[in-house]
């Protein structure tokens, strides 16, 4: 039946109104009701050209929400995930407590950076796919497979103006897993990633303070520090640090601390 699906051959020739959906939505689950295998794009519109007309050169100026800092790193006792919480639309701060971590299930987390709409939508779709996988196969999806699903979604819409940089973190049979997935379709496995426009500042702090054999408390502090210093320097990051720890039996939310208070604590005596 896979070949039948892929070829889009409709053997249900009597297609009346209220057409019977005999084929399960196996491969077409994100084609939004289109009857054959295609990606749902508005007819006649070139998304990338449309988006270019919205950038400031041609008059109308729509600033996509881009600013953020997120980081994640593996260490001996699991994976630490830390994100900021500022949602900016150009110069305007749309929200100071945006939620940039999606809790896909108790053992998988996804971070969001780039366009808020894209991230929220596609990662929620990923959550649905992970759930469907578990129902169909009676076992949890691996981090590798989950990240591959997301990157394939991105590849399908490549060049059409999606903007998403995400880290998929989890713990599966192979141990702790950390993957970076972005809107170009890049998918990388690694020990440490940071995304968003504040990422360079986070790299500086975490690279210089990282040790493989850190204790759990030291790792929490490193994650907090990375986000705090990045929000200090980057105008488009701020709010609170949301810190998660991915352990063998699932993730826990460690803390939610305001960055300005953290910076004041760190720089006591400097002001």
């Amino acid at each position: 039946m896979a070949l039948l699906d892929v070829s889009g051959y409709k053997y249900n020739s009597a297609s009346q109104f209220g057409f019977k959906q005999t084929l399960l939505d196996r491969s077409n689950h994100y084609s939004f009701g289109t009857k054959c295998q295609e990606f749902a794009v508005p007819v006649g519109v070139d998304p990338s050209k449309f988006l270019k007309s919205c950038s400031c050169e041609d008059g109308v100026c729509i600033d996509l929400n881009h600013g953020t800092t997120t980081l994640a790193f593996k260490f001996r006792h699991g994976v630490i995930v830390a994100v900021d919480s500022r949602a900016s639309a150009g110069k305007y701060i749309a929200s100071k407590e945006a939620n940039k971590v999606i809790e896909i299930n108790p053992y998988l987390l996804g971070t969001m950076s780039g366009s808020a709409a894209d991230c929220q939508y596609w990662e929620r779709l990923l959550a649905k796919e992970c759930r469907l996988y578990k129902l169909r196969n009676k076992q949890r999806i691996s981090v590798s497979a989950a990240s591959k699903l997301l990157s394939n979604m991105m590849l399908g819409y490549r060049g059409m103006g999606l903007s998403m940089g995400s880290m998929i973190c989890g713990w599966d049979k192979q141990g702790p897993g950390l993957y970076y997935v972005d809107d170009n379709g890049t998918r990388l496995s690694g020990r440490m990633f940071s995304t968003g426009c504040g990422n360079s500042y986070a790299y500086g702090v975490v690279d210089s303070g990282y040790r493989e054999d850190m204790t759990v408390e030291e790792a929490y502090e490193l994650g907090r520090r990375g986000i705090a210093h990045a929000t200090h320097r980057d105008a488009y990051s701020g709010g609170v640090v949301n810190l998660y720890h991915m352990q063998e039996d699932g993730w826990i939310k460690v803390c939610k601390e305001d960055v300005s208070e953290l910076i004041h604590r760190y720089k006591k005596g400097m002001f």
Binding site: S200, Y201, Y203, G204, V205, S208, G209, H229, R233, M270
Partner: protein
């Protein structure tokens, strides 16, 4: 890196040609002040003089596109670092950086800088910054010239090769 006086250094980056032209102009004028008046400009005065010149040229037909760091030691005020950009904004800062490398190193400086660092700790902090550049920066910068300014003047430190790790 341009030596303005016994205890003042000017670091100048930006458009090719503008950098040397502007820096040498400032250098010669600072020397001229010393010759005319018998004593040197203080770092604060030199910084403000530089800023004024940059600002005057900004709205002329030939603006200078340069970013500067001016470092000096004053007998009364102690060490001072001045950050200046091509729009002639001037700020006195405990630490500073220009260019793309600044994105990576500023957070390290934020994290580990204290006003009471010893000389060894300060050199270690600089090494941390260079290691980060070696690790994450797209351009390969094989070696750096390092100078130290204190009450006894300008000292050349050993060239730091960034090849470790």
């Amino acid at each position: 890196m341009f030596k303005l006086s016994e205890k003042i250094l000017l670091l100048c980056v930006g458009e090719a040609g503008d950098t040397v032209q502007f820096a040498e102009y400032i250098q010669k004028n600072v020397q001229l002040y010393k010759m005319r008046n018998g004593y040197e400009l203080s770092p604060a005065a030199a910084a403000n003089f530089t800023r004024k010149n940059l600002a005057d040229y900004l709205r002329s037909r030939t603006p200078y596109h340069v970013n500067l760091l001016l470092a000096g030691y004053d007998e009364t005020d102690g060490p001072g670092l001045y950050y200046m950009d091509y729009l002639s904004a001037l700020a006195k800062a405990p630490f500073a950086a220009h260019g793309y490398g600044a994105f990576l190193t500023l957070s390290i400086l934020d994290r580990y800088y204290r006003p009471d660092l010893t000389r060894e700790e300060a050199v270690d902090l600089l090494k941390k910054c260079l290691e980060e550049l070696n690790k994450r920066f797209i351009l390969n910068l094989p070696s750096f010239t390092v100078r130290l300014i204190d009450k006894d003047g300008i000292h050349d430190m050993e060239k730091l090769p960034v090849g470790r790790k």
